[in-house]
Every structure is written in C-alpha cells, then in structure tokens.
Symmetry: D2
Subunit: 343 residues, 4 copies
C-alpha cells in the first residue's frame, strides 16, 4: 500500500478526499493536515463534517497535522488547499520528495505541470520530465482541473476527431463548489447567482491545455476558443453545463453518441466503468438523479441535438468527486498504473 496524506483535510473537498481514500485498496491514509487552528487536535473535534455519510470512526481519532510540516509519513500528498496557500506550500512538498496531487488552481496552468484527466490526456504526465529538470524537485506536482472544466473537457475529448472549432458553455453550478459556508442560504433560496469568482477564466483556459498536444516536452494548447458563463443555482451537488460546440465535420448524432459511449475507463479502483454515459431521455441528466453515477465519477451527457452548425449537449458531473477529490485520486491511480508511483 502507498501511504497518502491530505493537506487541507477539514474543508469540504478535504472531507471528500477522506471519503475517497478511506478503504482504498491501493492507498492508506496516514495523515490529515490542516491550518494551525486545527493542528494538534483530533480530526473528529475540528471543523464540521458536511457529508451525508458518517465520518469513518478511525479518522475521527486521527491527530491533525499542520500544513507545511514536511515530515509526513506518506508517499503521496493530496492537496485540497486554497490557491494562495497551495502556491506557497505545494512546491515545498514536491521539493522534499513527495508526489503532490493537487486540486488547487495555483499551478494548473504552469507549463511544466501536468493538468490531467486520466481518460483524456494521460500522456501529459510526460511533462514531469521537464518539471524535474527545471525545478530540481525530488518529488513531483500534478494537478486536476477546476470542476467545471472536468465535465466540459471530458465531453469535448471524444469530439476531437470531428474538428472542434468553437465552444460556448453556460453553467448551473452547485453550492458545494463554493465550500460549505461559501453561499449563504439567504443568498440562494429562490434565486440564481449569476457570477462565480474567477470561474469563467478557468473554464475558458484549462480545457485548451488538457485537450492540447504534448510535443517536445511542451503542451501545445488546443486551437479553439471557449466562451463561458457561470452561474450558481440552488443545488447541493452536481454542476450542469449547457454546451454548444461548433464542429468542422458533420458527424451524425449517432456517431457522436458512439464516440462518447466508447470512451474508455482506465480500470483503476476509482475509475468508473463508463467515464461518460449518454442519456436519451428528454429530461436528463439532472443533478439529483445523475450526480452519483459511477459513484460520482461518471459524467452524464444528454439533450444532444444539432443547432445549425453547432452541436448542443448537456454535461453533468459531481463537482466535489469527479470535479475535485475523486479527480485527484484518479490522477494518483494513473501514476501508479504508468509506473510513476511504485506500490
């Protein structure tokens, strides 16, 4: 078993990390780290457990370490840190020899940092060679995308053979994306919040890196533009994305559907059997019905239609599982699979 620990373990995504890692057949959770305020206490005494399933009792008794403490009993460090803390802390763990799998946005767009979706661009792990050379780290840093990006990039990936020319996406995002206390109940009840800080910038840039081509140790970004409008709706978990894709080719809807359905699992413990499921019902996907597909790791696509030169579709995924903690764990599994991490 590989030993792993979680940085930022008390927040909402940190809790999802614990849920994804507890009982994992390859990884053993050996440490939970948080800010000074929580360090030294038992995990069960700090923060507020927000998930519907109970906290694993053994985790309840774990002593919380302090983020920044580099003496951790782990091979892999999962990071659920806020971007500003991540920027400062993650390189120190990588330098000290740990493999850092980060959900933070701080280093996603750095040119020598892989921004990974295992089913989509596993070859981008190749950037680690450049990273090691340039940074002289003993360990490594890999990242997973922003939640909204994950579902968009996964829905787009199988369409690459048809020539993606332009993308427009309008999102209806869940409350959990802002963290447990991020959106007051009074703000969102009977309401839509038509703005999410720094979200559109990420959604417009990250997929181009993910869908880009690794060549000579660099990623050449994909050559299409993305127009994103991001909105918060009164939904607990599950982001819904209304997407238009302009394609140079004119594939039949059947061929498009087959492209999604034949998208393959990487077959690791957290990987869903079917990364993408296409729903044919007129009124699917819906967050409450579809967010837990594939234990939160499957992206559901639906409402596929032609609109002139555009292909219209909906993509939906669980934002704190496939869009955050689960994404990071899957990245680590990919590294094991490809020999970057030894069990």
């Amino acid at each position: 078993m590989l030993k792993v620990c979680v940085l930022g373990a008390t927040g909402l995504v940190g809790q999802r990390f614990i849920q994804c890692l507890w009982g994992h057949p390859w990884f053993r959770l050996t440490g939970v780290l948080a800010s000074e305020r929580s360090a030294g206490k038992r995990y069960g005494e700090v923060g507020k457990w927000c998930l519907d399933r109970e906290m694993p009792p053994a985790v309840r008794r774990m002593k919380v370490g302090k983020v920044g403490d580099l003496e951790v009993d782990a091979d892999v460090v999962f990071s659920a840190l806020p971007a500003d803390v991540a920027r400062e802390v993650e390189p120190r763990y990588a330098a000290a020899g740990y493999t850092v799998c980060s959900n933070a946005s701080a280093y996603r767009m750095e040119e020598d940092v892989p921004l990974l979706i295992p089913e989509v661009n596993p070859d981008h792990l190749g950037l680690l060679e450049a990273q090691r050379k340039r940074r002289r780290w003993k360990g490594a840093l890999i990242t997973n995308p922003n939640c909204t990006t994950v579902f968009l990039a996964m829905a787009l990936a199988p369409l690459r053979p048809f020539g993606i020319e332009e993308v427009a996406v309008s999102t209806m995002q869940a409350l959990s994306g802002a963290g447990y206390g991020g959106v007051p109940g009074m703000a969102i009840a009977d309401n839509v919040l038509p703005y999410i800080g720094k979200e559109e910038e990420k959604v417009e840039s990250e997929p181009r890196k993910i869908l880009g081509t690794l060549r000579n140790g660099r990623v050449q970004p994909a050559g299409f533009d993305i127009r994103a409008s991001c909105h918060r709706v009164p939904v607990i978990d599950g982001h819904t994305e209304s997407i238009l894709v302009r394609l140079s080719g004119k594939p039949s809807l059947d061929r498009v559907r087959r492209a999604w359905e034949s998208f393959e699992s990487i077959g690791t413990p957290t990987a869903p059997e079917r990364p993408i499921v296409v729903r044919d019902e007129m009124d699917r996907p819906q967050p409450r019905m579809d967010r837990d597909a594939g234990r939160g790791m499957t992206v559901s696509v639906g409402r596929v239609a032609r609109k002139g030169p555009w292909l219209r579709l909906l993509a939906l995924g669980h934002n704190t599982i496939r869009g955050a903690a689960g994404a990071s764990v899957l990245n680590a599994e990919l590294m094991v699979n490809q020999g970057y991490l030894k069990r």
Copy 2:
C-alpha cells in the same frame, strides 16, 4: 373606461391578469371566464389563489363566466388560455367583434397576427389591416410572445444597429412558467430540470418575427439564427437568460450600454419608466432581487462582456408579468395609444 374581461381567469397567468387589471386607470374588469368546471361559481370559490398579495375582494365575488360564451360585456378580451383551447376559441371572439389580446402561443406565428412588444415593434400593429381583410373578423387578435422570448427580444432590440449575426441563449427558468402545479416540489428540490416542452422552438422563432421588418403588409423575419437551451431551476418567479450575441459591428461596451439604457418607455400606465435597466454589479441581475423591477415590467441586463466576436450578457425579467399578463395588458395600452382602441 374600456371594459375588459379575462379568458382562463383561474390559472396562474389569469390571476396575474386580474392583478394587472384591478385598479387600472383605463380598463375596468367586467368579466372573468373559465372552463365549465368553474363557470357559474363565485371567483373566490374556484381554483387556488397563488399570488402573494391577496385577491381583490370585489373579484372574489364576481361570477365566473364560461369560456366560449360570446356575450360578454367587454371591448377587450384578454386570453390566458392554454394553446389548444385558444386555437379554437380566440378566433370566435375576434370574429364577434372583440379585440383579443392573447398570451397563448396558438396564433403567435400566423403571418397576419401581430406578435408585439410595444417598445420594440409597435408598427407590427399594421398587420391588423391584412388580418381584417383576410379573416373578415369584426374584431382583432394580437399576441404577446412567450416569456423567455420577451426578455431575449428586448435585450436584442437595441443591438440591431450593431448588426446581429447569431444568438445563443441558455436559460434558467422559474417554476411559475409551468403554471401553479406544473412542477412537483419533489422534482425540482435540489435539482435542475434540463428540458421545457416546446420552449426552445418558440425561443428560436418568435424573436425573429418580433425583430423582423413590416413591409407590404408582411413581416420579413430578422436574418439571424438563435440557438436556445432551456432549463428549469428552483426559483419561484423570474427567468434568467445567459446570452451570446455575435455582432457584425464592434461597438464599445459603453455604446452598447447606452443603447439599452436609452430604450424608451411608451409611457402608458403599465409601461415601466425604464424598459431595460443595465446592472453594473458583478453579481446582478438575480431573480429575487430584480424580477420586481418596474413592478415586474422592467428587463434587467447585466454581466456584459466581450467574448471574442461575441457580446455576452444576462437578461432577466418577471415571467408572469412582463413575460405574460403584463405583456398583454401593455399591448392593449399600445392599441389605445395608437387609436386602435377608443376609450
């Protein structure tokens, strides 16, 4: 005072008609008509009053007439009927000499029926001449658009000088758009419903007629395509529309903003002082904060930005006031203003 009555007075839009007409300085509500089930009873005894403000006591005591009864004491007949009933009944009222102002979709796209937004295409009332000739009706039939269309067409109208080439819209629509019992609480709690029956078709066609040009007694539709994706969110009233407009011109955002802000009121009792308000706050418009602007008759625009060749904006309006009953009442006021109806 002009005498008016309401067809389909017991449903949600019918109730909004009563709210818009009660105490109106030009119109006097003389009749409320509904289906056979309710006819003959007092209005206060039938259906369920769904609006937050109380039912006017005098209306409570009005006797409900039967839709289809052509002997009504009225000059204008407002229709809140479902499309299938409207298709059968409205022509009979128009033939009998009444001016029918309809919120139903049945005749909106007929070539001799005006589909009106008074601030946008008042000249389309000119179609009535052709209508009278062709149908040999003593009265007339005019319509207002689908709720989602209203806000989109109003946001687009001031942009016409900049050359509209293509439009994409993704909506987050309120529950009241489906009628009082239209969406079960269990279906929409913690959820998004990504499909609204027949909605996208209307949104993709109606604005082109409204923004079209009246020439030789016919409307030449506007020459751009619309791609619509319509979704239901857990909001009581107020549709939010995330819009992309591709313009041939390259107006500055300031010029665009001025175009919206200078859009003029028609100055009648139901007309808002400012048909369009532009919000500069990053997180506006929001349904709960902005749906009641201008007593529900103002459309709020916000989040204006350039996205490559596209102009991105949000438009929000009250779907059962500016998007339904209020729209129809405003149409009638326009007819008074232009001499089609005599007080």
Copy 3:
C-alpha cells in the same frame, strides 16, 4: 423464496416497495400491479421513476398487471394503494388466500387487523386468529402505520415503563409523503404548508393502538392522549417530529437514553441493526444527514431534554422507507419469523 407482488406499483411508495424487494434474500418479486391505465404495458414504460437510484433493469421489462386481478403468482401481496381503492380491493385478496401487507390506511384501525411495528408490538399478530374467524378469509391482512406514526410510536415504545401520560407532537414533514406530484414546487419553495389532510387524526389515534395491550383477542388502546400538529416543509425525504412526553415516572435522561439504545432489532434482512439511534450532537437529527441511517430503517432521536414534567425529544425517520414500504416488508419478515408465512 416466497413469491410477492406489489399493488399500486407505479406510485412513489410502489417504487420504494420495488427497491426494498429487489434482491431481497427471502422474497422474489413476481408481479407489479397498477390501475387499468398502466395494465398490460411494461413497467419501464409507465409512470415516472422518481428515486435517485436507477430502476432495476429486470423490473423495467416486467408486464404490469391490473389491480383487482386475483390470479397472481404470489404468496404475499404488498399494497401501496390509496385508501379508497385499498378499502375495496384488499379484502378480496385476503379472502382469496393471499397474505396482504398493506401500507394503506383503510383497515389500520379495524379491531381485528394488526397495526404492526415489528420491534414494538409483534404480539399483535395474535389478532389474526380473530380476523380469520370473523372474516372467514383464507388469507390475512396486516397493516403498517402512517409514516409519522411510525417514528412517534417507536420513540414512545421504550418509554412505556416510565408511564406515558400525555404526548404532544409537532411535525416537519417531507414532500415525498404527499406522493411525487402531491406538492407543487411553487407551493412549497420558501414556504411551510401548515396542514396535511387527515394526518393529525392518524397520528393521534394509531400510536394508541400500536402501544396498546392485546388481551382476549382484542387490543386495549394505550391510555394517554396525543396532540398532533402536522406541517409540510421543503425537504425531499425524512419527517422530523418535535415531541413532548409527560411521564409519571422521573427517569434520568441517561436511563431514557439507555431505554432507546437497548431497543432490539428483530434481526431479519430489512431490520436495521439498531432500530433507534440517539444522537448527542446539539444539531441532530437532521433529515438530510439522518434519514438514510440503517438504510432508511433506523429512527434517529435527539435533542433530549427535560422541560418541567415533560421529556422533550426529536424523532426523525425516512418516511417512504421505515414509514411506508420498508415498514410493510419488515412486517412480512416478522410473519416469516413467527411462522405465519412459510418459506
């Protein structure tokens, strides 16, 4: 395996029956029956599946039978019928030799019909002797209580040794209690509905029968009064009940807690390991966090406090599992356990 079928299989509780029965180690689902409208079609084609987990594919293909058809291939008939239909139909199945386990209210208060909570009054199965004599049925009819009653009666049962003198209960009930389309989204968003038809009557009478004493073939109702106020809140599943119990004894809170915690499981497949769990956190139980405890079969109790001569507590349970379909299945398991049904 005992063969079982479900009457009223297409509604919300019918779907929960299917979920509880599919894969059951003792029962095999052989039939799904519904009204004339659905009979003859495949189950997957009728009604609307409302549960978050997918419909079992094999059920999707089952042919829907017609309620009232007495030729069913089953030993046990579970009934999710509305009360008026149940009143007419259930006796016919019982007469024809089937064991009817009903969730309907129609016969709950009949003096020869057991109203059962297996952990509370299993001995009330003894009423079946009187039932057989009086009704001359070849089969039998047993019932489970109203959802709100179940959680109240379970919370009260372990308190009997302390002398229950009076009970007051104020409920906050979930939408699913009214069936899928029972509460319009517009009615309940940002709202409380302070009335639930016929609910208070049931809650005030049923627990007295359940907690009553079987003597000489009759149930002597428990000797305390219940004052119930029932309200609907915007929650999907899970009824919360705020309860005051006046006790003649003065047990310490610790003794009360132990009484609940020592309440025993009947150890059958659907029975939860712990029928009652006491939560010590100030802010528990909560519907979203606790409704699924014990796969929806555990009742969570909390906020235990003395208020003068009253004991105050909260009780919470899953209304369509422990409060309906699961309750009925547990009743059938009890009958197997006690030899009333032979596998």
Copy 4:
C-alpha cells in the same frame, strides 16, 4: 421630526431599520453607525444590501459613523447590535442622554428595563422611572423581544382572560433570523436544522415578563411555564410557530377568535391596522403568503382547534420586521404617543 440613528446599521436587521425609518413621518434618519471596519466609508460601499427592495439612494451616500461614538445628532438611537457589543455600548448611549430602543437581547431581562410589545404591555414603560433612579442615566433604554417571542406573546396576550396555565411551542424559523450569512445554503437545502443557539431559553422566559404585571415599579412575571422547541427551515423570512395553550377557562373557539380580532392597533405610523389577523383557511398562515401582512407588522393566527384541554393554534410573523426592526420602531412610536419622547 425626531432625529434618529441606527447602531449596527450594516447587518440584516440594521438594513431593516433603515427600510422602516426611511420616509418615516415622525423620525428622520440622521446617522448610521457600524464597527470600525466600516466607519468613515459611505454606507453604499460597505456590507452587502440583502433586501429585495433597493437601498434608498440618499442612504447610500451617508457616511458611516463608528459605534461607540457618543456625539451623534439624534434623539433616539436604535440598536441592531449583537448582544455582546450591546451589553457594553448601549448603557453609554443611555447615560449620555439618548433614548435607546434596542433589539439586542443583552438587557431584555433586566428588572428595570421595559421589554415591550406596544399593543400588549405599554404600561411597562413605567419601569423607566425605576431605571432612571437606579442607573442615573440621563436617557433611557427600552427593548423589544426576540422575534419568536413577539409572535408567541402577541398570540397569548388576548388569551389572558381565559387563564393561561401552560404553553408548548414548536417553531419553524426562517433563515434571516440568523443574519445574512448565518446559515450556509448547503446546510439548509433539503433539510431542517433542529437547533438554534440560545433561542429556546429566550422563548421560555421573555413572554412571561411581557405578559407579567407591573406592580410597585416591578414586573411580576406571568405564572405559566413555556416549553419551547426551536427549528430552522428553508424559508427566507417569516417564523411559523405551532402552539398549544392550556387554559383554565373553556372559551368557545368563537370567543377566542373574537379576542384576537379585537386586539387593538396603537394607531401610530408603523402600527398595523390589525395587529392580529385570524385565518380560517385550513392551510394558512404560510410564511410566503402571510409574512408581509400589515407591511410585515401583523401577526397571522390560524389552525385554531381544541385538543383536549389544550387550545392549538399557529402564529406567524415577519421575523426581521415585527420581530426585530419594526418592533423597535413601534416601541419608539409608543414612547412618542405616551409623551416619553417629544417631537
């Protein structure tokens, strides 16, 4: 006009104070004070306006003063401060000669501080004499009750002639009671929170003081006990209270109804024409339909029934208007009416 200012003007209740005072015919808002963080800025630049109606433009430009600054241009100081700050600051304003009308809980239960509901216990203003003697303040301090208390005490007051012996109340309280950011959207969506800090203690004690008798300069508390259970539900504004009252007398429900309906207005600008309205519909009062009755100052009572020796009723009011800011403003109007304040 009397000059007034608001302490704690940027919070949710502070905003309601501004809304209640802006355009008031007797009072002129001359100052808005807040914590150090906001002091010195324009009101429109600090905090987040949370009310559905827009901020008055003139208020937007007012300069925010610092709480604790005793040089304010005002006769009356309204306090929306948190309890701990109020405890320290309010006496200093009272000592300096201001009349402090406080919504804070800090001094409500002090024996020489009036805890007022103008329609219920206006004579308790008589405590001010003792207050002046004991505290040697040049000004005065009066308080209004906790929101939940207000509606309970108002519903109980007209029942005093029938002999109140015991009261049980179970509440369903709105989000705004916890302040704008007080309840995370994720915590309350599809949920009930069965605990509100320090609420039950207030509800069990305050009404006894309010309904007590002023004798020899002291309030003798009312002689009945109250058992309170307080819960938070997903409602924006409006607390619903399910109440049981045990009466020594046996008034008919008609007499009870007349007692509530004949409860008289004090006739000042903020006073509602009818302080209590009795709803006869089975499903009223509801927060969304009834919270704004009497511009948020009327308490709605309904579901009146006998339950054995108990009278059962529901009481509902707007928690941040009649339950907070409006209550305080009404108190000030009472003082004007009774000559304690001179215009």
